[in-house]
Symmetry: C2
């Protein structure tokens, strides 16, 4: 196993082995760019070291050889008093983890070699400043001396010398400080500071390797979904100095504007400075254009390098450069981070410039980033303090006055106030308040809690499960530590990253440019899966259509029952539970209103399939809770029932685990009038629309099927209704949600009768893991922090567990019915990695909330491209590719 | 497709085609026994008829041919006025369904043929009595005339004639009644009574076929787990008459005593009577021995037939015979139903008599029947009224005074009262009351509810989920309809079949004879799976050992924390939740008591493995519920906390779906002190016992694992503790419960570190179906009644769904570790069909409550024998067969 590669031996293709930084240094070296020479210790060596706490046999020899090569190359020698070789030691993993691991600069300095540096540079102050920086960095990073010791010493000497800034200190001050630092190291570690450069190098390499597993790095990887088993490379590179006087400098540049994507050379630099000075913000850097005036030759060279790099990498680059005494060096290049807006523009323009293909362009935009464009958001440069953190349950940002109940939210909103609804958790009874509010904050519940799901559906910002927030309904306030926020006080939510902020913050409105449209159209040409939406009202449907949805994958009918006039009827139904005739009569009152709901939706979705799920939640959700004494009193009056009797009914409907209780098709089977009414309403609405020339494709969906006989029973209820309607002049389907593990395992039976299957991955995930979305908050955060779970399975499909059930379901279902239509309507349907998984297992469509439709369109296209590139397993099925003559709809 | 078989064409092997009755009639015919001739319409014909509402093409001709054959055989003719052929038409499915389908006797009579019968028998009264019976039966069964019409007419004529008994009526009265009956038929159906015998026959056959799908039959099949798609055969048999005078008679006999199993000829008969008279109980039948005195020749022939049948069938037979004018006919034979006691004795004695092999003997005992022997039960002939029905959650019977809370149960029991604890549902806080009570009745919850599981563990009778029972804690009473039972009133529970009875009922004590022991020993020789037990206390362990348990498969540690002194410490732990130091200190107080628990168990289980599950339930179970104001007040005092603070803590621990919440290893990982303490206690107890010369095999079990990293985290907690204890001088294991679907799907990973897996099929079933055991009552009963579920999956493993996950788990786990030990500790481990399934998928052991251990031992042996016979799929794995020198332990 070769443990070390000189920059001249590697290439950009060797990222896994050399890390991102190392691979790019090698690539630039191969391109002939002015890269300070050096070599890279491989990630494999890192993994070997971490596992064995030692190195492979050949490592020592290779390190010696590479050092010698470098010395020859530079005409310098490690530890040589006349002309010492100085190097930097930098980590560099396959994936960028900025600031997470350790770096040592100026390595090779000691009390001897410093003389050579002084001699060579003629700049004693620079030399000692570099020396003290090295001792400080080495002490901190390698020897683990708490860094405040060094800072204290610096402050002390500045006070002693009457210096206000570092720059006020002179060479001898730095010299003195070097000795003080060394004393600190000796005092703290019990050993003198190592003077031997090779020992320094070895210790630094070890420190960088070990830093792969420091807490900071592990947390970062957990947060960013980076695997823990890839290790970091270590780059040893000859030092160049931007702080050697007025013809030296350092800077960073982007080959295009990272904010807007405009094709311009964008960057900043500082003369007579080291890299950290640009970042530290003590001095204000100059814009790059200025360099053209100051050092026109260097600037010209830099512009040529910019063109060469873009031409070579065919992507916007983020590069670091240093000018040492008028000579330009490139220290790093990598694909530049950019805003969503910039990503779209760069991708489209690079196609126009023939730098890349359309397919490349689609892969250049991170679908997750599109969220930035689809919601109001906090301005990029806004400054604010975070009061509490929660889950980023629904993106966007909102400011408003705090209220603690749905009724107040609705009232205040009516009066023109912006309100934020703060609840421990929300329930369907809160819907009107959620509609009225600008944003929702809950103290419990996860990414698929009621609040989160509903808010995403509404495109409304939501921070969920903010555990530090203690809601006190009685006092109408919430507390975070010592801070108390009372009803009516203003807060801001940042749903995109899950922040709660006191007061107002500067916002920007969503902006969608023509580049966005272009990328969406290109995506539609490529993708094989359809993209539908989860929407319950004609308004939501219209939003989704505008975003390009090709049908409704999930229309939840229960939300329709929570309007005031309807919930009253629904309650009548429930309270007549034991009297079939009364119950049937009450149910029948719901039919005309339901029919009108569906007419509205069919009209908007003209020509597209509409999957309507029959009633799903348990009945108690339609009744007030037992401790809502006022509501119970009111309802008892309204229904002509004694309070005691009413409470008894509510008590009887109480369930210990409502999620696992009497709901979904279980309710449909034990109380068949409800489903019969819904089916009749759906089909009558479809008839009415059909007669008006609207193309209707109703898909009736049965929730919570776990056993074929359940489906058969509901199918019979539906067909009994439909067969009485005469000949049906339009296409319709009866299928089922797949959300119970057992449904996956028995899909071959279910497929005998079902026209389609649609994965409800929210419930499926909860049951497969045995988590409840409402209760998992208390341990899920801990699990992710501790690395027990790499991802939150409520956010992205757990491919190994839930995914294998889905795969089983698809296989079994299509064994029975090869052309069975299968989709997904859980919120995972709008999450890019999940969309890719759905592509691979052969789903026909994904369905997600309206605001995620563009994300899904792009992700579905990327899945096709990644499959072609061999990055995804081959798609496992028939594809329902769009036919040519269907309308393409874009935002 | 041949639709009809003459008795001489069939054999006992053709049960599927000819039904049980038909196959046995054929077999007896082949043996040369005096069976009245006839033929059988096949079950296939029935299924064809039901599906097509018509017959196969060849049927009509075959029926004609068979009738002709029969006429020739008997020298009689259908409809012939001189010597008419009379037949019976009887259903007979593969499985006996007594009384569920229809029968018509004396078919062939009409106003013409009656003359022939009178002529031939010279008994006009007999002839008309037979005729009216026929019209009545035909009217009722075939023409669906409500039978009260006939009964009313009979009453009227008796009043008119001044007759007290039927026997007081004369020939002309019966003749008159025949005409009245026919008029009733005409009036009710609008058509005259059919006089053509062939038409009568066809209509009767159709009626029997249709009766397969009458409500009564469907319900019976659902209740008895008989498939709906097997159909019934129809037997047409020449009539013989036991009511032709003093040399005629009829009777039933068992070849051995069905109560005790004693090898004696047991039966009853009536002279001058038809079969139904014996059953109806109007006249008292004579014991069979008496027949030897009255008709010694007939009796001798009957005894010879008895010997011949036992010799041939090699099982105890239940036979029906008729004597017509001194001539003996055998009308039916079948394997006789018997008590558990009789089954054991017959099986053992038949082996001794060399009639059958030991293997045959093991298959002759129904493991489910053994329950009768393991609990006190209601006397077989006790008469009583049932107040309400519930689930037969834990077998046995008990009488006692009703109480509604655990404290009162404990108090009253202390004073020597027998009490029945009646609750809506039970919780771990009720344990002391459940221990004290004779039996438990709950109004909600299923077969795996807390009450059910705990009661089975205690061998205590329980009726669960009795939905009609309305418990009113405030009034200290429960109601069923209008009946009110107050605290202190006496009721009896029959847990074996789920009945609630007012007052006392006659009981019998459990009785276990030597035959039982013999069967158990034979089972142990045959079975390949071990049988362990689920037991939490040394006392329960001892009971299980006495029943032959070979280890503990599940020792639940949480029950140990509910004793008064311990729950106080546990509460301290919980209330110190946010203060690690205080929490660790409180946890440490639990260690010595836990250690003592385990010492006691290890001692009893000397030489056998003991699987101890780490703490499983959510913390709120250890605190009073929010509405228990008194308990909260008391606890707040005890803990020095304000009531408000305490309520806040309880409120924070509240979960919406506690079953899917913060429990099991989730708790162990977020609060690691608890598991560390338990592991230390287990290992220290094992050390102490080991030093005393006891052979300890602790198996530490982690609950609720769904992801490998969870197991790894807990494994580390455990190993951190164990590694500090020095070298371990005994074998120990660390493994996990498999109760989350995802654990099955990722078993290959889990097996990398786990030493054993044990299926917790209670939770696994709930999650696979998405049912909660506490809430499913409201629809599960309906599902089973409606045939949506054939079996309650909480009772017997759902092989298609849950079973396929189990199979996946075994395959994946043993892919990683071929000799991985895998068992089951859900209550399914004591249910015979589930035990067979566990054998097939290759489990090493089953574990069940102590009182089910003998059932599991026998079922495990039967699984081996059924596999050999090709009735079960081949066992899929390595087997941990008992080694020779291990102790065999029997009751």
């Amino acid at each position: 196993m070769k443990t070390i590669y000189a920059f001249s031996e590697g290439s950009k293709k060797m990222k896994d082995l050399l890390g991102g930084k190392g691979a790019n240094l090698a690539e630039m070296t191969r391109l002939g760019l002015p890269v300070p020479p050096g070599f890279t210790l491989t990630t494999e060596t890192c993994l070997y070291y971490l596992e064995h706490e030692g190195y492979p046999e050949n490592y020592e020899q290779e390190l010696e050889d590479k050092l010698q090569e470098l010395e020859q190359n530079m005409g310098q020698k490690f530890g040589n008093v006349e002309d010492p070789l100085l190097v930097s030691v930098r980590s560099g993993a396959r994936v960028s983890m900025p600031g997470m691991m350790d770096t040592v600069l100026n390595l090779g300095l000691n009390d001897d070699t410093i003389k050579g540096v002084i001699e060579k540079t003629g700049n004693e102050r620079f030399a000692y400043d570099s020396y003290r920086r090295f001792v400080q960095m080495f002490g901190d990073v390698v020897l683990e001396v708490p860094h405040h010791h060094f800072e204290d010493a610096l402050t002390t000497i500045k006070e002693k010398k009457g210096a206000r800034l570092d720059t006020d200190l002179k060479a001898e001050d730095w010299m003195e400080l070097v000795q003080t630092f060394k004393q600190i190291v000796h005092d703290t570690t019990g050993n003198p500071f190592p003077e031997d450069p090779k020992k320094q190098l070895r210790l630094s390499i070890e420190a960088v390797f070990k830093s792969w597993n420091n807490k900071r790095a592990i947390t970062y990887r957990n947060l960013n979904g980076i695997p823990h088993n890839i290790g970091t490379a270590v780059n040893i590179q000859t030092m160049v100095f931007g702080n050697m006087g007025d013809t030296s400098g350092t800077g960073v540049a982007f080959t295009r504007c990272p904010s807007t994507g405009e094709n311009m050379f964008y960057g900043e630099y500082l003369m007579n400075a080291q890299g950290e000075d640009v970042v530290a913000g003590i001095r204000t850097p100059e814009p790059l254009t200025k360099l053209g005036e100051v050092m026109p030759d260097v600037y010209k060279e830099l512009v040529e390098i910019r063109d060469q790099l873009e031409d070579h990498y065919r992507d916007m680059q983020d590069l670091e450069f240093t000018i040492e005494k008028g000579r330009l060096f490139i220290l790093q290049t990598r694909d530049g981070k950019r805003t969503a807006q910039a990503a779209l523009r760069i991708a489209v323009e690079m196609v126009e410039e023939k730098l890349i293909t359309k397919e490349d362009a689609l892969l250049r935009v991170d679908p997750n980033q599109l969220k930035q464009l689809l919601h109001p958001s906090i301005a990029m440069d806004a400054k604010y303090d975070v009061l509490a953190k929660g889950l980023p349950a629904s993106p966007g940002a909102a400011t408003g006055k705090v209220v603690f109940d749905a009724d107040t939210a609705a009232e205040w909103a009516e009066e023109g106030e912006s309100v934020i609804l703060v609840r421990k958790e929300t329930s369907p009874e809160d819907i009107h308040g959620m509609h009225a509010a600008q944003g929702i904050l809950t103290s419990t519940g996860g990414n698929t809690s009621h609040a989160a799901v509903v808010c995403r559906g509404m495109g409304k910002c939501c921070v969920a499960g903010a555990g530090e927030v203690i809601v006190d309904y009685k006092k109408s306030e919430f507390r975070v530590g010592d801070t108390v926020i009372k009803k009516g006080e203003e807060i801001t939510l940042n749903g995109t990253i899950g922040e709660v902020i006191v007061g107002q913050v500067e916002m920007c409105e969503p902006e969608v440019s023509g580049y966005f449209e272009t990328i969406m159209l290109w995506s539609d040409d490529v993708r094989e899966m359809r993209v539908r939406t989860n929407a319950d009202t004609p308004e939501d449907c219209q939003v989704a259509r505008d975003f390009g949805a090709e049908g409704i994958g999930l229309c939840r009918t229960e939300h329709m029952f929570f309007a005031e006039d309807r919930i009253a009827i629904m309650r009548e139904v429930i309270l007549a539970k034991d009297d079939e005739t009364r119950r049937a009569k009450a149910v029948e009152k719901l039919r005309p209103v339901q029919k009108e709901d569906f007419v509205g939706i069919f009209k908007v979705m003209n020509g597209f399939p509409v999957t309507i799920r029959l009633l799903d939640p348990p009945l108690h959700e339609f009744l007030p809770s037992l401790d809502a004494h006022e509501k119970i009193a009111a309802l008892s009056k309204e229904m002509g029932l004694s309070v005691d009797d009413l409470k008894k009914i509510i008590g009887n409907l109480h369930e210990i685990n409502p999620m696992l209780g009497h709901r979904g098709c279980r309710l449909g089977i034990t109380c068949p009038e409800l489903y019969a009414m819904q089916v009749r309403a759906i089909m009558q609405a479809a008839f009415e629309c059909h007669e008006q020339g609207i193309t209707v494709i109703p898909e009736i969906e049965v929730p919570l099927i776990g056993e074929f006989e359940e489906f058969k029973a509901v199918h019979k209820i539906a067909m009994d209704v439909i067969s009485k309607l005469g000949e049906i002049p339009f296409e319709y389907k009866i299928g089922t949600m797949i959300e119970i593990p057992r449904a996956c395992l028995t899909a071959h039976k279910i497929a005998e009768k079902a026209d389609f299957l649609s994965f409800g991955t929210n419930d499926l995930t909860q049951l497969t893991y045995g988590y409840s979305r409402d209760d998992a908050g208390s341990f899920l955060a801990h699990y992710i922090e501790a690395g027990i779970l790499t991802d939150d399975p409520t956010e992205t499909i757990d491919q190994i567990g839930v995914g294998s059930l889905m795969q089983t379901c698809v296989n079994l279902g299509r064994e029975t019915k090869p052309d069975l239509e299968i989709g997904i309507c859980g919120e995972h349907g709008g999450e890019p990695r999940s969309v890719e998984f759905c592509h691979t297992i052969g789903l026909d469509y994904v369905s997600c909330s309206p605001y995620r439709v563009p994300i899904a369109r792009l992700a579905a296209a990327q899945a096709v491209l990644k499959e072609k590139a061999g990055e995804l397993a081959p798609r496992k099925a028939r594809s329902l590719k769009k036919t040519e003559n269907e309308p393409a709809t874009v935002y």
